[in-house]
């Protein structure tokens, strides 16, 4: 009797065997992750400061990008104001942990407490913006948040006591239970550990924590609500999701991620400077999440790594690249220019040729593999989604 329905359903080919694509390579995944993890732990023993700094910048960027991706990728709220919250985190930490007798205001709190408070402070700032963040969406919110950048820059330049003005202020050293993350050389296994080596592990821990937290949120109840708001605001409300409040809360969380990223950046920079926290920075963060893959935590990390490392690596190895000339020698392209071409081009290419960003590469590759196999086991989607919820 139900033959027709059955036929229709067969036509859809529900996934027969879960994970049909994995097959023999299944054991590979944990092994690869283990290898990556070990490598990350070992890097400070092998890499020069340049690489450690570059890596730390990427980690900080990744934390910020994860937060932005929760807002823009998963909830559909465009934000161009991320740089403001990065600055809040960076300067907040400086003020809270700063030397009370220094040239700029400092409360002299224990650094670890200052980190926590700075992140909370950034959250509060994000919360103050929620009358706007909760009500607006799309382009309007994006441009409204632009105001934050200009307000931020204005304050950074003018509130000398807090920010140190144009030349910024010194970042107090991080100190965790008496262990100071400063340039003081300690020797570990024959390798001198200085600021970057020590901070490396701080960065790893923070990033890991942020990744896990974000994944938990996105895969859980809040994540579903966020996606619903992105995809169908009215339906989300009718299903019981308090839309404006959720938007506000995601904005707060994303701000706190940015705040933490700001703290880490400040620790790496050792001096915070206002010019860094400009609109360009916000745009870079957007580029990160698009290149990496909207809505995906892993994508944010990949995108952040790509965007923050490209200019450094290109500039460093500029002599070795074709068409790139060393600065000042005239003709050709300067390394800075090439890196901009590359990352601008990557944004465009990611959207056009790799919908879903770098994070979709493995899946796309697997789909290719599957397509090559005779029996078309592929699910019905994969091609269609310009952005993948997670």
């Amino acid at each position: 009797m139900s033959d027709l329905l059955t036929k229709v359903r067969e036509g859809l080919r529900p996934p027969a065997a879960a994970g049909s694509g994995a097959g023999s390579g299944r054991w590979l995944v944990p092994v690869v992750w283990l290898a990556i993890g070990l490598a990350l732990l070992a890097f400070p023993f092998y890499l020069e400061t340049f690489w450690l700094r570059t890596g730390l910048l990427a980690m900080a960027a990744a934390i910020g990008a994860i937060g932005l991706n929760m807002l823009s990728g998963s909830t559909g709220q465009l934000s161009l104001g991320h740089a403001f919250f990065l600055a809040m985190g960076a300067y907040g930490y400086c003020v809270l942990a700063g030397d009370p007798d220094g040239p700029a205001t400092g409360l002299g709190l224990p650094p670890l407490l200052a980190v926590v408070l700075a992140v909370l402070l950034t959250g509060v700032a994000g919360g103050l913006f929620s009358p706007i963040a909760g009500r607006l969406r799309g382009a309007y919110l994006g441009i409204a948040t632009l105001a934050l950048i200009f307000i931020g820059q204005h304050v950074l330049f003018n509130a000398h006591d807090l920010t140190g003005g144009f030349n910024g202020r010194v970042v107090p050293r991080l100190e965790v239970f008496g262990f100071v993350f400063d340039a003081e050389r300690i020797v570990v296994a024959g390798v001198p550990f200085q600021a970057m080596e020590k901070l490396w592990y701080v960065g790893l821990v923070l990033l890991l924590g942020c990744v896990l937290f974000a994944r938990g949120v996105l895969r859980g109840r809040p994540g579903r609500a966020m996606n619903a708001i992105r995809d169908h605001q009215i339906a989300a409300g009718v299903m019981g999701v308090p839309v404006a409040r959720y938007r506000g809360m995601v904005f707060v969380i994303s701000s706190m991620y940015a705040g933490l990223a700001g703290v880490l950046l400040a620790l790496v920079f050792e001096r915070t400077v206002p010019t860094y926290f400009s609109i360009v920075l916000s745009l870079e963060y957007l580029a990160m999440i698009v290149i990496g893959g909207l809505g995906s935590v892993g994508g944010a990390v990949l995108g952040a790594t790509f965007v923050s490392m490209t200019p450094l690596i290109l500039t460093r190895y500029s002599e070795a690249l074709p068409l790139v000339t060393a600065p000042g020698t005239g003709g050709g392209f300067a390394p800075g220019e090439v890196s901009r071409f590359l990352y601008g081009g990557a944004v465009v290419a990611a959207v056009l040729f790799l919908p879903g960003g770098l994070a979709r590469l493995p899946a796309a590759w697997r789909a290719r593999q599957r397509a090559r196999r005779p029996a078309g086991e592929a699910g019905p989607d994969t091609q269609r989604n310009e952005e993948v919820p997670r």
Binding site: M1, L4, E10, G376, P380
Partner: protein
């Protein structure tokens, strides 16, 4: 055969890995109403999209076969050029331009067929005659019309292009009985005024009443085809698409009993959730 026939031969189409049409062949004779029947997901909309050149908007593509209209090939052509050839589709789910006024929606309908003002005015008058509500609501935003009103607008908009062949995708969807009848009448009227119609419908009885020929699609393949009389006499069609010969089940349902077929019986009734 007359020149302005639509001939589909061996059409294959799909969405990425999903095959939606397999070797579909059919003819739409000039001046007639031809119906396409089939259940959910049978590929009816896909067929129309393949004809109108809009599969690509859904990530799909024609992978084989030919479509010929009036002696010229339509397959592979962009949508705008299909419209220029006189083949106009009313999409499933109405798809009116929600933020434009009703009047502008009608103007948009005329975009594909450049013609003199008089011809356009005539087309508009005709649409207003068929659907007076569109004249009353001319300045309202189309998105705020009710479902039925939107369906009328969608048809009116397509008529603004003065089509020779009109492709209708489930025009009675969501319409009140009277309105569904009105739409049916309108389809007939449009047809008698000289427009060929290819009608996709789930409401088979309505479709078979209007059409002279019909095709039944099942999971992307032509399962049956013939004249409307033949098909409505066929047991298969009566059972599956007309829902007659099934009175016991209906009676059961009327008694508030879960239908036997299709799954429900296989599962115990849902029990209350106790938190």
């Amino acid at each position: 055969m007359g020149a302005a026939d639509l001939r589909v031969r061996g059409l294959n189409a799909g969405y990425g890995p999903v095959r939606a049409l397999t070797d579909v062949s059919l003819d739409v004779p000039d001046g007639a109403v031809t119906a396409v029947l089939g259940g959910n997901g049978a590929g009816k909309s896909t067929l129309l999209r393949a004809l109108s050149g809009t599969l690509r908007f859904h990530g799909g593509a024609v992978t084989g076969g030919t479509v010929e209209y009036d002696g010229a090939r339509l397959d592979g052509r962009p949508a705008a050029s299909v419209v220029a050839a006189g083949v106009v589709q009313v999409p499933e789910g109405r798809q009116v331009f929600a933020r434009m006024t009703v009047a502008d929606n009608l103007r948009a309908g005329a975009l594909g067929r450049r013609g003199d003002r008089a011809a356009q005015q005539a087309a508009r008058n005709r649409v207003h005659e068929l659907f007076p509500v569109l004249a009353d609501r001319a300045q309202q935003r189309a998105g705020l019309l009710s479902g039925g009103e939107q369906q009328m607008l969608a048809m009116g908009r397509a008529l603004m292009a003065r089509p020779r062949l009109l492709l209708l995708d489930e025009p009675s969807l969501g319409l009140a009985p009277m309105m569904a009848a009105r739409i049916a009448e309108t389809v007939r009227e449009i047809n008698t005024q000289g427009t060929t119609v290819l009608l996709v419908e789930q409401n088979a009885s309505l479709a078979l009443r209007l059409a002279s020929h019909a095709v039944v699609l099942e999971t992307g393949e032509v399962a049956l085809s013939g004249t409307a009389e033949e098909l409505s006499a066929s047991d298969e069609v009566r059972r599956r698409y007309l829902g007659v010969a099934d009175e016991e089940a209906a009676a059961d349902a009327a008694a508030g009993i879960a239908a036997e077929d299709a799954g429900v019986a296989a599962h115990p009734p849902l029990t209350r959730w106790t938190a």
